[in-house]
């Protein structure tokens, strides 16, 4: 599991890329990725291109990010989900909270 994050040039969009298993072990790294000092992005992208697996604690982490990004006002897109990841997200109906593409 590796997590990297990249702030756009204008500082408005933070992209968090996750590869490998997105599970409880990612907790601290994922938190660190969006709690960067000094950054206050308006949009978030979680790139799941390399994510092979996602469990319920990963869903919990996404909820934490959503809370951090303003709750109902949060603008978060989940990109490049593979079939398995998409299935987990859809069973939980997370498309009601996130833009999933």
């Amino acid at each position: 599991m590796t997590i990297t994050s990249q702030l756009s040039a204008d500082g408005r969009e933070l992209t968090i890329a996750i590869s490998g298993r997105f599970d409880f072990n990612a907790h601290q790294a994922f938190r660190d990725a969006y709690q960067r000092q000094g950054a206050s992005p308006q949009r978030y992208v979680v790139d799941l291109q390399g994510a092979t697996y996602l469990d319920s604690s990963a869903l919990g982490m996404l909820l934490l990010l959503r809370d951090h990004a303003g709750g109902d006002e949060a603008d978060i897109r989940l990109l490049n989900c593979n079939v398995d990841v998409r299935k987990v997200l859809s069973v939980s109906n997370f498309e009601q909270l996130f833009v999933i593409a």
Partner: protein
Amino acid sequence: MPKRLTILIAEDSPVDRMLLSTIVARQGHRVLTAADGMQAVALFEQERPQLVLMDALMPVMDGFEAARRIKQLAGDELVPIIFLTSLTENQALVGCLEAGGDDFIAKPYNPIILEAKIQAMHRLRRLQATVLAQRDLIARRNQQLLDEHRAAKAIFDKVAHAGCLNAPNIRYRQSPRALFNGDLLLAAQAPAGQMFVLLGDFTGHGLPAAIGAMPLAETFYGMAAKGHSSTDILREMNAKLKQILPVEMFCCATLLDINPLQGTLRVWNGGLPDGYLIGANGQRTPLGSRHLPLGILSAAAFDDEFEHFPLAVGDRLLLLSDGVIESRNTHDELFGERRLLALLDANSDPARLFDEIEQALLAFHGQVQDDLSLIEVSLDETLAGAPLSVPLVAHRSRPIDWSAHFELRAESLRNGNPLPLLLQLLLQVNPLRPRAGAIYTVLGELYANALEHGVLGLDSALKCDAEGFQRYYELRRERLQALAEGHIRLELSIKTHDGGGCLRIAISDSGAGFDVAHALQLQRCDQCLSGRGLHLVRQLTDGFDWQADGRGLGVEFGWAAEA
């Protein structure tokens, strides 16, 4: 830092023994010497040295045998054995290792290398001791945790009791540890005869999951017993979890509201795998997740829309936690949805299905899993059986003579459910308590009849097939949402007399009215979908009458005075 150890030297040659013990003693260690293997073993038992320097070839008992015995005596403790050897053949060196040797030192002895090896072995010894201490600590802590889980489970069972999970029409598989795996299984018989079943799966494991289960169970059982609707129970559970759980925690759940009297099933699934409604003929309807799990959305945003399905005797309901599908066996293979569906497809006798799933899981894993939950509810005649009664309170009954009128108008019809309140009121009357279930059932039927057929003008003929059934409940929802005018009036009157007493319930509504005699006629032959409404009301009451315009019905419950 070098440490002073007690070291046993087993060596038959006096020269080598003298040389070695001098070297070792000069390095600050306490030395014990033995001239053969037998002496070495005896000295070890007596003095428990921390390290052994052992010659391989000795009279009486050789070094290999002595090493084996010493390792056995040492048990879990690491007592390093360094073989003193001029052996050069590989086979002999292998023999030293097989006998339990940890290292070699070759003749002629080099004091510096010897001390380095002694200290290296001592470090290994300390490491082993640390590992053992930690192992024992972990074992103790784990035992403690299991004890605490047992105690916590006992408390949970007291608070949340088992509901009606032991009813004859329910089968379930859930380990006692399931609570600490985040799984929760609840079943309650509501006063009006419905059965509510909840399967929940909290994110995470251990104590946090178990703690969240507590208020959920209390809400579920408390509200079900008071006659609240499944919608109200669901909303309350969501609100409670939203309030107490940290942001990242939630509870995937399926709530079933099984109403055998009306022949309906209401299902709400947020985040759990498909459950199944399986007909007596094997026809299978998935009960899929349509909502976010509980504890995520605020009360305002929460979607409490249930799906409706017709139910008949012989139907079965199957719910499973994702532990079933996501469980892995020792080869790290996933049980998977495909395996489950294949099982369901292959089943020829629905009554055997539960056993078949259990057997398949056992065969797949080779042992019983403790992180999955499975429940089957079958609709048999017993489920539609006798309504509940509430125990009598101790005080003597006094004469009673009162009546109460209620009129519910559009806004209240849309959002409220007056029945729990009415039931609480009526249960103040001691002689009515044994018939609480019957009274509640009758109230429920009368109210539903007045609301759906009277105020909302719905035609129960719609419910003749499964599609129409869904349509019926969609219409109900739409019309209720749009309702601007209309009312239901309820009048309760109670009067005692010398010979006993009587409760009369009268209900009327703003609808167009209906031909009661005709409806009774129709429903008699309607076995399958829309239930037994008015017939049931007539069976459960001591008097049943209706107004000629069909807008009002009245029922009576009588009782005889105490002996």
